[in-house]
């Protein structure tokens, strides 16, 4: 009797942390197939490109019905990281009888959260998504090599962020849904790189017009897998 009670008292969250019943999958893809980090992809131009790092924040993940939120994910900020398969599958438990016709979130971290001090979990600066020369979270970090990138070692480093006007990168995204129980979002990085001009813009590490534009392009490469 004593031991189970003690365990229960020590870990009072255990009964709540049940297996999620639904998952939202994020799948970065290149040319229609799952992105493999470090693999070179041939491009139509004859060039080639590889991605070594692809990480981004999403905030306020929620399901909508007729434009009204019917479910809000309990974790307000989620770090999605290509190198961490666990982060690509976001679990949640939808209450019974919920009808949803759309999914919404913001790409990046909202300005209220940005203005706070040190935070933990997905927002811990240990994750390498907080700028150290200036306060602020990076919305999306995309690094790799491209044969047409003129930087040293053909390396491109896109650290896209900024939360103060006029360079606020927070990007609201909404997707229509057929089935809220199984949502699969694909991020077509090949489409992103046809917009991003790595010949001219290959090192972005501060808020500005380039970061705002690139985040919008990244957002437009998100889509629901049919």
């Amino acid at each position: 009797m004593r031991i189970p009670l003690l365990i229960y008292l020590l870990f009072p969250v255990l009964p709540i942390a049940a297996q999620p019943s639904q998952y939202l999958f994020f799948e970065p893809v290149f040319g229609g197939k799952s992105l493999v980090l470090g693999q070179y992809y041939p491009l139509k131009t004859g060039d080639s490109l590889q991605v070594e790092t692809f990480r981004f924040y999403i905030s306020n993940l929620r399901l909508l019905y007729h434009g009204q939120p019917v479910f809000i994910h309990p974790r307000t900020h989620l770090l999605i990281d290509s190198s961490d398969p666990n982060s690509l599958a976001v679990g949640y438990n939808l209450p019974d009888g919920i009808h949803a016709d759309a999914l919404a979130f913001e790409l990046g971290v909202d300005s209220l959260t940005q203005s706070k001090g040190a935070q933990g979990g997905d927002l811990d600066p240990l994750n390498g998504m907080y700028w150290s020369w200036q306060s602020g979270y990076i919305s999306a970090k995309i690094e790799g090599k491209a044969s047409y990138c003129p930087a040293k070692g053909q390396l491109f480093q896109l650290h896209l962020g900024g939360y103060r006007a006029p360079w606020n990168t927070l990007l609201p995204l909404t997707f229509n849904l057929k089935d809220p129980d199984s949502v699969h979002i694909r991020i077509a990085l090949d489409i992103f790189f046809t917009y991003a001009n790595l010949q001219q813009t290959y090192a972005v590490m501060r808020p500005g017009a380039e970061a705002v534009s690139l985040v919008q392009q990244l957002g437009s490469s998100f889509g629901i897998k049919p």
């Binding site: 020590l10 706070k116 001090g117 240990l126 020369w133 306060s135």
Partner: protein
């Protein structure tokens, strides 16, 4: 049974809660309310001690040679005496003068250009700057976890031995928040236990007239951004806040430092180009490059400069500089 239940409850509380008595920041009633959000990071004795230990520990740097205190020494009012520009690992030299750390709970932004908006996040900059500590916070956390003493210090401060970036930064902020200087002759004058000399009074009047637009009492800074009237250093090419915002009108604006404890925090200005206060006053009376935030030289006679220097001496607080609670902690001494 009851024993086990009580023990379990206590353990459960200890595991998730920061420990130790709350510490209230003590400051005079003529100070404004601090701007630091203490509700997000309440001061507690074990957290302050952990922060103080980290502050003095060179383990925070890439080659374990540079601590926060290397450039922010207590006897220099937590500035770096005699060094115009900050120092870092491998004898590297930074861009700016290491500022004195005084009354940080009242500062809304940090660094000479205001790049950092919160005291918690400030320590990240010197830790990761290649010309300061040159380390990654991720590595710092691993190094701390491998020591025999830090896990216990984190447990005492935060309830368990986990060492995270959040806890590291919050503990450093807790110690720095305690660096309150409010026990100078000026403060005693405000509290009615000291009477200014005639010259100090003359200087007080002059400072209120000429300096207060940027250096208002009782903190002796408005902590906004102003021109200091200095021409740009052609080698450093430091345009101040403009580097951060890219707004042309921010060119050559720097965060206004406090006038407290100047005796200990020389050299002066953002690049430490003046070794003594006489040079600073000479600059403000005859060397100012006019700008929107500092339009012309301050018309000061030699007698008035002497009066101002007499007043500035009343802002020195030796009890702050020699406070034993701020010095190198015993927790870092080998057992």
């Amino acid at each position: 049974m009851r024993m086990a239940l009580l023990l379990g409850l206590l353990l459960a509380m200890a595991m998730s809660q920061p420990c130790g008595d709350l510490v209230r920041l003590i400051y005079p009633d003529y100070f404004p309310q601090p701007v630091y959000p203490f509700s997000d990071n309440p001061l507690r004795t074990p957290g302050i001690l952990l922060g103080r230990t980290l502050f003095y520990d060179p383990l925070l740097s890439l080659d374990n040679t540079i601590s926060c205190a290397s450039c922010h020494a207590p006897y220099n009012a937590f500035a770096h005496t005699d060094h115009a520009l900050s120092h870092g690992i491998g004898d590297s030299i930074g861009l700016r003068n290491a500022p004195a750390l005084i009354n940080l709970a009242w500062q809304p932004a940090f660094m000479w250009d205001g790049a950092i908006h919160h005291l918690d996040m400030q320590a990240l900059t010197p830790i990761e700057s290649p010309t300061e500590m040159g380390e990654e916070i991720r590595q710092v956390v691993q190094k701390l976890a491998a020591t025999p003493y830090y896990p216990a210090l984190f447990q005492r401060a935060f309830g368990d031995t986990a060492i995270t970036g959040e806890r590291l930064l919050k503990a450093l902020a807790q110690f720095q928040l305690t660096l309150v200087s409010a026990n100078s002759d000026y403060d005693r004058m405000r509290q009615g236990t000291y009477t200014f000399t005639h010259q100090e009074n003359q200087g007080y009047t002059l400072v209120k007239h000429h300096c207060a637009p940027c250096h208002p009492e009782p903190l002796f800074s408005h902590y906004g951004y102003s021109s200091n009237g200095l021409p740009i250093d052609t080698l450093l090419q430091d345009a101040g806040r403009y580097r951060m915002t890219g707004i042309p009108s921010d060119s050559l604006l720097f965060k206004v430092p406090t006038l407290r404890n100047l005796k200990y925090s020389y050299p002066y200005m953002h690049d430490g180009r003046f070794k003594n206060l006489r040079q600073v006053l000479d600059h403000y009376s005859s060397g100012v490059q006019p700008s929107a935030t500092l339009k012309k030289n301050l018309p000061l006679t030699p007698e008035e400069k002497a009066d101002i220097l007499a007043f500035l001496r009343t802002l020195n607080d030796s009890s702050f500089v020699f406070n034993p609670d701020f010095q190198f902690p015993k927790s870092l001494l080998p057992e």
